[in-house]
Symmetry: C2
Subunit: 85 residues, 2 copies
Amino acid sequence: MEPKPDYFTPIAMTTINTHPTIDELKDQIKKLNSKAGQMKMDLHDIAEGLPTDLDKLPEISARTYNIYCELRDLKQQLKILETNP
Amino acid sequence: MEPKPDYFTPIAMTTINTHPTIDELKDQIKKLNSKAGQMKMDLHDIAEGLPTDLDKLPEISARTYNIYCELRDLKQQLKILETNP
């Protein structure tokens, strides 16, 4: 049996660490990028297979949206840190 | 310039017509199917192109979900009507 994807474990604790270093940020972005890529593929597959798995759509799309927003924020933070270290 | 897709016009007035005939239902399902196919492709394209158009994701996915739910309801109604005309 295929293992169920884990959509529930918090992805990054970034919001708690208010003063991450550049290296910490880069590490978080890398991890989040990988997770975001997976979510994107899942959403893509759901869209492709509709109406199969219709019931999963609201959650998967919300989580995909959130992860990309978080990624955008982190990249913005990194940019600021790199400009004004 | 490409025309903007119309996501705001109500798709079917099905919910108002509480006693549609089998033919009316079939017609509504046909129209909705076509619209649903378009939404599915839009969602698919957004998923594929992420993070481009990230801001459109919540609305497009919600509308895609709603349209497929409506389609499911209509098909269920049709089934009932066909079984007990």
